[in-house]
């Protein structure tokens, strides 16, 4: 295997610390705006995809597949996106992904007009690129973040998704209605909104993400140092060879799988228990609240106490939430509400702490590739969980699936403990090794 070149940039700094701080403040503001816009686009697609697919085909299974295409698309685009960013910078990568999202939304509009299911899936896959761009934004914001504020910066971007999600949920309905009034078929207006919002996000990035944070941070564009980016395969090996990175990616996978699984199945469980649509909507609101509302606080805590304790708490929250939900019958509210809230909160702890850990583990020129592989693994695992959730529900029931989710949480807790003690042992062993001076003295 060709090893990735690991060299710390030693070129004279092109930007002073003060200049970097100014660029970082500007970068975070720009990315907050693009993330909010992209978030609206993402939610506008997410809300109508399953419904339109069901309208076209009449099949709930095919509807689930269409909705899962959003995650599949994001998983497929994450690695190429990271390669573009590694070569040309954050701006080029984010702009490309958002523009692919625009093309995807346009495809979905055509699918709604012609009532063509394969075209709809293709369109939603393309819109998944917008999802990948939204996820990559948190890393773009962290490029220039001071290490003491890294998790907080990531958490602010995660929090911006709340604004996008909330606005997108409301705007999607208005866009569909407005589309009908100007002659578009049902739900096509929501995709037009999605395309426009991705386009605005691309324009914000293109016009205002200047200078490129990755260039300023030294990740690309420094001719005097070797900033060779690892290939995706090398990035996978880099993750695999580093126990902390393995833990971080594993934690993101656990969070995503647990979150997607419970989010997909709880509405079915509550519906089977005879609960109203309002109750199901409130449960979803609690879940999303848990995912995003406390993210700035979670970021602050991560910076204060470190990623490992936060990942430990994440495992605990996922386990607790999954158990609580599993033990709650379909006609009861407290258990499913709190279970979903805790799993959402666990996701927030996991994603922010794991992202911050990944950023801290690798030098700037390796980060982008590693981040792409990590995100691809996380979203891919979530897509598989979403696709298989219906089948698992019919075989193992809500309780069985949530016991499996709780087992994932316990595995994460164990993983954190094992990695922590292994690293501690290794540090003690390193400290006890005789130095050259010791050897000379003894001889």
């Amino acid at each position: 295997m060709r090893q990735a070149v690991v060299m710390i940039p030693v070129a004279p700094a092109l930007y002073s610390d003060d200049e970097k701080a100014v660029v970082q403040t500007h970068t975070v503001r720009v990315l907050l705006a693009s993330q909010t816009s992209g978030g609206v686009g993402l939610v506008a697609t997410y809300i109508v995809s399953a419904l339109l697919a069901k309208d076209i085909t009449g099949s709930a299974t095919l509807a689930t597949i269409a909705a899962a295409c959003l995650s599949i698309g994001a998983a497929l685009v994450s690695v190429p996106l990271s390669r573009v960013m590694a070569k040309k910078g954050r701006r080029a990568g984010l702009r490309m992904a958002y523009l692919v999202g625009v093309a995807g939304a346009a495809c979905a509009v055509l699918a709604a007009i012609t009532r063509n299911y394969p075209l709809l899936c293709l369109g939603v896959l393309g819109a998944g690129a917008g999802n990948a761009a939204n996820l990559a934004t948190r890393y773009a914001a962290s490029d220039l973040a001071h290490e003491d504020r890294r998790a907080r910066t990531i958490s602010i971007i995660v929090w911006a998704t709340t604004i996008g999600s909330t606005t997108g949920s409301v705007a999607s309905g208005f866009a569909s209605d407005f589309g009908n009034t100007i002659g578009l078929p049902d739900k096509a207006g929501s995709y037009v909104l999605s395309g426009l919002m991705f386009l605005i996000a691309a324009a914000i990035v293109e016009f205002f993400l200047r200078p490129d944070p990755l260039v300023v941070a030294g990740g690309i564009g420094q001719q005097t140092v070797d900033t060779t980016q690892p290939t995706p395969r090398e990035a996978m090996h880099l993750i695999w060879d580093n126990p902390s990175a393995r833990l971080a990616v594993g934690a993101m996978i656990v969070c995503q799988v647990t979150m997607v699984g419970v989010m997909a199945l709880t509405p079915l469980h509550m519906d089977d228990g005879g609960q109203s649509q309002n109750a199901i909507g409130m449960m979803m609101a609690m879940h999303i609240w848990g995912m995003y509302a406390f993210s700035p606080l979670v970021g602050l805590l991560t910076d204060r106490i470190g990623s490992f304790p936060m990942l430990y708490i994440c495992g605990g929250l996922c386990t607790w939430g999954a158990f609580w939900a599993a033990l709650t019958p379909g006609d009861a509210k407290l258990g499913v509400f709190m279970g979903n809230f805790l799993i959402g909160l666990g996701w927030c702890f996991g994603v922010i702490a794991a992202s911050s850990l990944i950023v801290s583990l690798f030098p700037i020129h390796q980060r982008v590739a590693v981040q792409g592989v990590g995100d691809s693994a996380m979203i891919g695992a979530g897509a598989i969980a979403g696709l298989s959730s219906g089948a698992l529900y019919s075989v193992f029931d809500y309780r069985g699936v949530n016991y499996a989710n709780a087992a994932f949480g316990i595995a994460l807790i164990s993983g954190v403990a094992i990695t922590y003690f292994a690293m501690r042992r290794s540090r003690i062993a390193d400290a006890e090794l005789p130095t050259e001076d010791d050897a000379v003295t003894t001889s």
């Binding site: 930007y15 085909t57 007009i113 002659g183 426009l196 386009l199 324009a203």
Partner: protein, 122 residues
């Protein structure tokens, strides 16, 4: 420290894309003239309920109905009692028209079929 800003042409490109994104679908939706749906008439004759009560076999329409999108189902009840066909209730002497704009599967009780009815639209 500031990088060169993109040209006006790039800005116009974004603007043009936004216009295309709205105008083309609207034009296309208007250009593609959706075909009119077919009207299926189900007429329930007078005395149907009495005939069913007497154990007589009544065959007005098949228990499995396959319709296409935008098809219209017109149920005319000339009987003296209300009838229900898979969640569609029709009062005595009344008629109900239902247009199917979405793929759907309606199954359930049917006062004309002992085994119920299934209406598939797709």
């Amino acid at each position: 420290m500031e990088e060169r800003r993109p040209s006006l042409r790039v800005g116009l490109g974004f603007l043009a894309t936004a216009v295309v994104l709205v105008v083309v679908p609207v034009g296309l939706a208007r250009a593609i003239d959706e075909p009119e749906g077919f009207t299926y008439l189900i007429e329930i004759p007078k005395g149907t309920a009495s005939a069913l009560a007497a154990g007589t076999e009544v065959e007005i329409f098949p228990a499995d109905l396959d319709l296409r999108l935008r098809d219209i189902l017109l149920i005319v009840n000339k009987d003296d009692v209300p009838h229900t066909i898979g969640q569609i209730a029709v009062g005595a002497g009344e008629q109900v028209e239902r247009t199917f704009g979405q793929a759907v599967s309606i199954s359930g009780f049917c006062s004309l079929h002992t085994g119920g009815v299934e209406i598939s639209v797709g």
